[in-house]
Subunit: 233 residues, 2 copies
């Protein structure tokens, strides 16, 4: 029997990456989880990521300090108001102000470094093309281009060892399908944090009105699964 | 007449990126320079980068803190000895221990973020396929793949605005050719630092024996240009 392969998992502490973590564990991978302190408005999602990695028995959890505020240009890292109470149509339209320039590219580049030093051939990222159609770096064609680049960027590309694969098991799923899958794998969604702008009142309280909260609420409702989230509104 | 375009320049403080900075200025770009404090053994090259950016009149110089030591695997960031006194053949062969996993991919990803927020369509990087043939992420096919990915990653890819170009004007030049070009543009090479392992004895002193120093010495000799560098050996 060959050794257990290692997978790098980009872990934000949110619903999607928690589901990925469970999927990857279920498939028998050893997990090297990777999170970022990137100047987001709140760091509660990092606390959630740490707890999730621990609970999943991840072999390694690297948290990289990365101050994306130096560039500016996003409501997630700047003093720009996070939009609240938007309609579903508005959420699906255009590039949202919560888009962080080149964020997934930066995150995947770091994952590539971690994959190279841990010998992992698989990098998992919880991007989703349905709910986040406005984010250019959540599209399948982007992911494929990153993978092609990655295989020229690293030792594997020169030495002809196993190619790197960017794995996006959630890319075509609705939030409801993701939640149903996660529930089947025993994910504790009460331990995940999606909110862009969590209010005071407790580590895991969600605002209930930002785009991420609205998609989360709707996902649980459509999945017919009890939503364990505490929403302020 | 259209407004002066902005270029993002990856600036290490070494000979190659100083030449790029001069080239870009000569071509009439406004410069947004980008450097990294990435856990390299010494930060003197950052001091050099700051002085070079100032002297070149760069409009903006962003220095990103980025601890690549978290991944390990390179003599430039770990407690692995930097090789000294290697032959030219040895330098050209295989992937050197000074290769930092996915470094150019990480650097270019950050440059892409800076390009997006400054509206720059051109990202300049001083990679060189001749002297650094052992680095997978210095090859033209890698650069082309990064560019293709970048144009799917950002708003430009969705909104159809001007595509991003990864510009590598030094990629096919020998070190001697780079130096001759820089001298023609008035680059002060005495203000650049190439050494992987600079010894005590002054901010700009080079060890004279690591791969980078050997290539630098040879470049000046072949260019027939007085070498302003202070070498310890």
């Amino acid at each position: 029997m060959s050794a257990q392969p290692t997978a790098v998992v980009l872990l934000s502490g949110g619903l999607d990456s928690a589901t990925i973590l469970a999927l990857v564990g279920d498939q028998g991978y050893r997990v090297a989880a990777l999170s970022f302190r990137y100047g987001q408005r709140h760091s509660r999602e990092l606390d959630a990521a740490e707890a999730l990695a621990r609970a999943a028995g991840a072999e390694r959890h690297v948290i990289i300090d990365l101050d994306l505020r130096a560039y500016g240009g996003s409501a997630l890292t700047d003093d720009i108001a996070v939009p609240k109470g938007r309609s579903e149509d508005a959420i699906g339209e255009g590039i949202p102000i919560t888009y962080v320039p080149a964020r997934n590219t930066i995150f995947l580049s770091h994952a590539l470094a971690l994959a190279e030093v841990t010998g992992a051939a698989d990098i998992f990222i919880g991007v989703n093309a349905l709910d986040y159609s406005g984010y250019p770096d959540c599209r399948p064609e982007y992911v494929a281009a990153f993978e092609a680049m990655a295989n020229l960027a690293t030792k594997a590309g020169v030495e002809g060892t196993e190619p790197v694969r960017i794995r996006t098991p959630l890319i075509d799923l609705t939030k409801a399908e993701i939640i149903r899958q996660g529930v089947g794998l025993g994910v504790d969604y009460g331990a995940t944090l999606s909110c862009y702008d969590p209010p005071a009142g407790g580590a895991m309280v969600h605002c209930g009105a930002c785009d991420a909260c609205l998609l989360r609420k709707k996902g649980f409702a459509e999945a017919g699964v009890d939503d364990p989230t505490v929403y302020a509104a």
